[in-house]
Subunit: 140 residues, 2 copies
């Protein structure tokens, strides 16, 4: 389910300069059906653009995160690298296989629960992240 994304339009909307590096980063992220690390994005792109630097990827991912184009997950991979995913309209969570590392998207059914938390704790709830860990069909 690759996302159909117009990277130039998105960059325009957010008031960011439309550079090739930025468009390529967004395009790669929209083609993948899972969160990516800065390094994996870099590796996928450096064939086409040998001048691209990892620091540029990091820099833009941070800018995208500030502009709510991208979300920095609080799941990290085994190498302690951050994972990033495009923010798209449908909110979802992640189901992670503890053995092979497969990540699936799962739907969110937490609205009632969140309302209860909000009332009980006198908080204004803004966001939440759920990660479910288990063994996938092949690994269990």
């Amino acid at each position: 389910m690759a996302i159909n994304l117009s990277s130039t339009k998105l960059l325009d909307e957010k008031g960011l300069l439309k550079t090739n590096q930025r468009k390529e980063i967004l395009n790669i992220m929209s083609l993948e059906d899972k969160p990516l690390t800065a390094k994996s994005i870099y590796n996928k792109l450096k064939n086409r653009n040998p001048h691209l630097k990892l620091s540029t990827v990091y820099r833009n991912l941070n800018i995208f995160a500030e502009k709510d184009i991208v979300r920095k997950l609080n799941i990290r991979n085994d190498s302690n690298e951050n994972l990033f995913e495009l923010i798209i309209k449908d909110h979802h969570h992640h189901l992670v296989c503890m053995k092979c590392g497969e990540i699936k998207d799962i739907k969110c059914l937490l609205d009632d629960y969140l309302k209860e938390i909000e009332d009980n704790n006198n908080y204004l709830i803004k966001d939440h992240r759920l990660t479910v860990y288990g063994l996938c069909e092949d690994c269990k």
Copy 2:
């Protein structure tokens, strides 16, 4: 709600040598009502034991995590440091204030939802972590 913990008993049960450093780390963690970073544990302990090294804290937190004494959270603080908490019998989640950083424990009501995920995806679910972000009473 500091946990009443016998660190020596716990270390015994897990087959770990009962050193002062380990006991002190566990005691500090049981006194705190929130997840701690390696550095904050180190800072709290180095007054009493000036020889203690940060690497020793890290080393033991990792050993504790392997032995299921401690849990490494996938929330990180602003400095990108890992947070650790004692694993205690009652499962719970975290409610984090986005402004002041306060972390509260909240109860888990996800059993039905998890069962549904398990069935829908053909996974065997082993664990899950929810973090809810918002603004606390004082910050909102």
